[in-house]
Symmetry: C2
Subunit: 341 residues, 2 copies
DNA sequence: GCGACAATTTAAAACGGTTTGGTAAAATTC
DNA sequence: GAATTTTACCAAACCGTTTTAAATTGTCGC
């Protein structure tokens, strides 16, 4: 049913009906109520594409999806979708070819000029992130999931990576560990840098020298976790503890330790960052995994909120949110074994 | 830039330009070429919402996202997005509350009448799936990822679950296993039933009695894999082999075996179904995991193709695709240990 | 009972394309 | 070379809303 027919049945003009449904003030309460009731009864729904054309809004927010190692993605999306489900806003997913770093900026550019989205979410930013500069230049509203040091105002939601890893590392030091390895995320991403800093600061605070041979960077995969852990554990003296960037990395570390006959929670301690997945929980690993924890799904839901705020005019300079991270100690962390000499 | 201005610059009418860009036959090759070139040069792009209003197409396909245990989701989405990226079609993600089974049908209903999507993808169907009946009734094009026995024509793409599990089970029998447990997916889903059938047929073909105490159903999580495997392994005599529904399930089984001091690949064999994840590979597990394998990402990409075919008018009765599944043997499968009496 | 002002409602003009129903000019047929 | 068809293009109507600008109705003070 079209607006015109619907209005005619009510004996009103399309204008008034449109306004009544959109909650404009210049329509009497009585009329508004009647319109709302009849709309429900007759099942009238405005044509979404006509609305979008007339208002100039796209009614969707864009999310770019990388190809590799994105197991966080569905949790974040889940949170986003959950929150946006109640609004009349869709989520538009664009795929990105990770192999072509130049393609990325083009993709964002296309997304912005295509007019298919009202806002964009930027993931895993770098300190000087081209995408942020671009979106700002194009005037496209966007929310950064993470942060950037770039000299361009941007709204962001981030977790306290630095604090989380500082606490995790400090805790390991408190337990008596001195050789602590870290398997971090991709080189160059802000969150990796923040984690690096948390790690180094914790060491420095206790007068432990930073050893570059104990730090690795890469995608969050089981495979890399294994390979790095393995190579670290082959050093002499070997590290007695690991700080891991993700659950998958931790799986790899567990595997590496086991393959070398080392017992986790006794000979090797591990703390990982857990984004909270329904299908793989730190509590259920053997031994259960100590973790810094922050829900990716919750971040997705909150991101949706913040984007809505941006779209309703809140200046991006105001939208900054830093979430604290829990540290949950379980069996995978313990004092180091007595030193053999 | 608007069509009108652009056309004016070219000295053509909007009609001709529109047709040239959409590839209609009644415009000369020379003109078409000129229009295309100028469009690229001047950066003219039709307003997507105007196009959608005028054509009545939504320009998007809908995907419903469940809340729990959906680590396949991002891979499937990735494939979908990859293929659809080159078309002018978006992916619209709707969240579903798994806890409310009635909400699901309402969600599909809303999605169909909202006019926001031209087609829908239905996941994990049941033999008599309400969603399929609904979408058919509403005349909304849809593709089922999986299959249903329902008496309603529907396009589908599925993998040969039955054959895959039959082969996996047969292989375990060939190795000498007689007590083979199976940890399957959610009760009632078609793919679970197919896998059940493959399992039972393999047993029957070799005269092995089906033992309901060796079969479990549930979400694909590490936790359930662990719990079921644990309870099976506590039976006497205990199973010597497992068929697992997913990689996460396999992780749980590995954990259970380990927690009971049993060595995988010697005392217990495992074959799992692997949807191919970039962050967790069967080859890298210790011992490496034998698996039936079929790429979820490829299925997503192909699903996009099939949906496009449906939208261009191919009748859904014609769109059926059954993919074979590879069986890849690795270290987790071996003959059972000699029987102790 | 009338002017002033506010509260409602409306007709008509966007929004930016596609598509229908033509019309000249060029090509073909006889 | 006239009649017919084909080719290449165009003007105008249409898709279904929102929004601007104007008209109508209602309320109030005097």
């Amino acid at each position: 049913m079209k607006l015109r027919e619907f209005a005619q049945q009510l004996g009103l003009s399309p204008t008034t009906v449109s306004r009544a449904l959109s909650g404009y003030p210049e329509v009497s309460e009585k009329t508004r109520k009647r319109v709302a009731e009849e709309a429900a009864r007759l099942g009238y729904r405005p044509n979404i594409n006509a609305v979008r054309l007339a208002t100039g809004r796209a009614g969707a927010i864009g999310v770019v999806m990388g190809r590799s190692g994105e197991f966080h993605f569905s949790e974040f999306m889940g949170g986003l979708a959950e929150r946006l489900g109640t609004e009349d806003i869709d989520i538009l997913v664009s795929p990105m070819d990770d192999k072509d770093p130049k393609g990325e900026i083009q993709l964002y550019s296309r997304l912005a000029v295509s007019g298919r989205v009202d806002a964009v979410i930027v993931h895993s930013p770098e300190p000087n992130d081209e995408r942020i500069a671009l979106l700002h230049k194009l005037g496209m509203p966007f929310l950064v999931h993470g942060r950037s040091d770039i000299d361009v105002p941007h709204a962001w939601l981030d977790i306290d990576n630095e604090g989380a890893i500082r606490r995790a590392t400090s805790h390991l030091i408190d337990l008596g560990h001195r050789r602590i390895a870290m398997i971090n995320g991709r080189q160059g991403r802000t969150f990796s840098l923040h984690r690096d800093k948390g790690y180094r600061d914790a060491l420095q605070a206790r007068g432990i020298a930073f050893d570059p041979r104990l730090v690795a960077h890469g995608n969050f995969t089981d495979e890399l976790g294994f390979r790095f852990a393995r190579s670290f554990l082959e050093q002499t003296p070997r590290p007695t503890a690991f700080v891991a960037g993700s659950m998958m990395t931790a799986l790899g570390i567990y595997r590496a330790a086991r393959s070398m006959g080392l017992e986790i929670g006794r000979e090797v301690s591990v703390i990982a960052h857990d984004d909270v997945f329904p299908y793989l929980t730190a509590d259920n690993m053997v031994p259960s995994l100590s973790a810094t924890r922050s829900s990716m799904r919750a971040a997705g839901a909150r991101s949706a909120d913040l984007v809505l705020q941006l779209l309703s005019g809140r200046p991006s300079e105001e939208v900054h949110e830093l979430w604290p991270v829990e540290l949950i100690l379980r069996e995978s962390t313990a004092p180091p074994p007595p030193e053999r000499s």
